[in-house]
């Protein structure tokens, strides 16, 4: 009787830990897809941004071409997550540079479309930062589960491996400041 109870208890505990590990792994996948959605939203802003900036300036052509190029690279299907994150980092840095240079073009700075694009861009930056933090929290939770006993036993059997967290760029760790960002 006692042995039977122990066996049934072990089976239940086993199911609980197995489900919990699978749940945490799925959370990691979900969290990454959230980043993906946010990135797509941000990439979609680029054509409008380029169009508006083009109308007011002839001096930022180099930056604009670079931005368009990066955007089309990011739009290629089946690129890896790492590549996508790298392209996003490069895009962000170029757009940030462009936003700072806007100070030299008062008409562009006052354009309503441009102002809207600026706020949407900032919004998307903070949303991506939030999605990355959510992803890192899910990864940490998953890694803790598979590295700690008794999860480590199941991780070995299921061939689960720790996942690396996303490094936050120094630029993203800074608080977003409208003043610094847009010279307003």
């Amino acid at each position: 009787m006692i042995i039977a109870l122990i066996i049934i208890g072990s089976i239940f505990i086993g199911i609980f830990f197995y489900n919990s590990l699978i749940g945490k792994k799925n959370q990691v996948t979900n969290a990454f897809s959230a980043i993906d959605v946010m990135l797509k939203k941000r990439f979609d802003l680029i054509p409008n941004l380029v169009e508006v900036v083009k109308q007011y300036t002839t001096y930022e052509q180099g930056t604009l071409t670079k931005i368009v190029e990066l955007r089309s690279k990011a739009g290629v299907p089946n690129i890896s997550n790492a590549e996508k994150a790298d392209l996003d980092a490069q895009l962000s840095s170029n757009v940030r540079g462009l936003m700072v240079n806007v100070e030299n073009y008062p008409h562009l700075k006052a354009n309503t479309n441009f102002i809207n694009l600026q706020t949407t861009w900032t919004e998307s930056e903070e949303q991506i930062a939030a999605a990355r933090r959510a992803y890192n929290a899910a990864v940490t939770d998953y890694n803790n589960s598979i590295m700690m006993f008794p999860g480590s036993l199941f991780a070995g059997i299921l061939n689960f491996h720790p996942i690396a967290v996303l490094e936050t760029a120094a630029e993203e760790r800074k608080n977003i400041s409208a003043k610094e960002r847009f010279n307003i």
């Binding site: 969290a31 959230a34 930062a129 939030a130 959510a134 929290a137 939770d141 608080n175 409208a178 960002r181």
Partner: protein, 318 residues
């Protein structure tokens, strides 16, 4: 000190007029209490000496007189308290910011209290007063005093006994948040019950639609338990800088605060152990100790907008 009460002529004139009323009310109330006490003492003393009937008769007369005095002064007391709130607190608010105003008979409704999701228990008795509304730069805000209680009924040998327990006593502050969001994020102090509940819903089973949000700020996670309907949105609201600002705000208060973010609005509950914005009766209005306390509280609430940087509107919300 935001407002130099001692050198503010307009306010000093209002305080001087009200001080006369206060002294009158205090004198009548003192007289009333003395007569009541004298009646009781006389009744006990004469009864102990063996004359209970003359004792009761002799004691009841001053007792009734004292009660009548207190009853008669009640209307003046109410008018005095109202005048203090509108003329003194109201004036102090306007000095701080033209947009600020106080309504002593309004507050935050019981339904909004539950809507904030800051508290789980539904109140059986609910009192709210002193609604202050205003605008700090681009951010509209309001706050009010709230006392919410629930009751428990126990069966004793003497019959049913009702006991009242506090759900919340203090000020709830609401402000228009500077970002758009659709879900719900709740930040509660990490007491034993909340910590246990959070562990249970994270590791075993989550009730309702809100999950525990594990945030990366260690101090914040030690002080609060965060729940949210969306992991990403909760982090979009609770940025590293806002978490630091909330911690700094929490350090300025004696009891831990709770926060909720619902439909683009932010609510903060400040538990307090005294009733604010009440006119003193037995303390002078001229030395303004109570007034200083009230003004400090108002200034504290007003500064939350600045402390939490709610006027930075760069996230697509005007």
């Amino acid at each position: 000190m935001l407002l130099d009460i001692a050198n503010n002529v307009a306010l000093q004139q209002v305080l001087a007029t009200m001080e006369v009323t206060r002294k009158k009310i205090a004198a009548i109330q003192t007289k009333g209490y003395i007569f009541i006490a004298a009646g009781i003492v006389f009744c006990i003393l004469i009864s102990v000496l063996g004359f209970p009937i003359p004792g009761v008769i002799g004691g009841i007369i001053p007792l009734i007189y004292g009660s009548v005095l207190l009853f008669n002064v009640n209307d003046s007391l109410t008018a005095y308290r109202h005048a203090y709130k509108t003329n003194v607190i109201g004036a102090a608010l306007t000095f701080l910011d033209e947009s600020l105003s106080i309504n002593p008979y309004q507050g935050i409704t019981a339904s909004e209290f539950m809507y904030t999701q800051l508290f789980v228990q539904e109140p059986d008795r609910y009192k709210t007063e002193d609604l202050v509304t205003g605008c700090a730069d681009r951010t509209r805000f309001y706050f009010a005093e709230i006392h919410a209680e629930y009751k428990t009924v126990t069966q004793t040998k003497n019959g049913r006994q009702t006991t009242w327990h506090d759900i919340f006593s203090g000020i709830i502050f609401a402000a228009d948040f500077n970002k758009n969001f659709n879900g719900i994020t709740i930040v509660r102090p990490k007491d034993f019950a909340n910590a246990l509940g959070a562990w249970f819903s994270k590791n075993v089973f989550s009730f309702g639609g809100n999950d525990v949000i594990k945030l990366e700020n260690v101090d914040f996670d030690k002080t609060f338990v965060t729940y949210g309907s969306d992991q990403v949105e909760a982090r979009y609201i609770l940025t590293p800088s806002l978490m630091e600002r909330i911690l700094a705000l929490n350090h300025q208060t004696r009891y831990d605060i709770s926060l909720s973010f619902i439909e683009s609005r932010m609510y903060i509950a400040f538990p307090l152990n005294r009733n604010y914005f009440e006119a003193p009766v037995f303390k002078s209005l001229v030395n303004a100790e109570a007034l200083n306390d009230d003004i400090t509280t108002i200034k504290f609430m007003y500064d939350i907008v600045k402390e939490l940087d709610l006027n930075t509107r760069i996230w697509g919300k005007g």
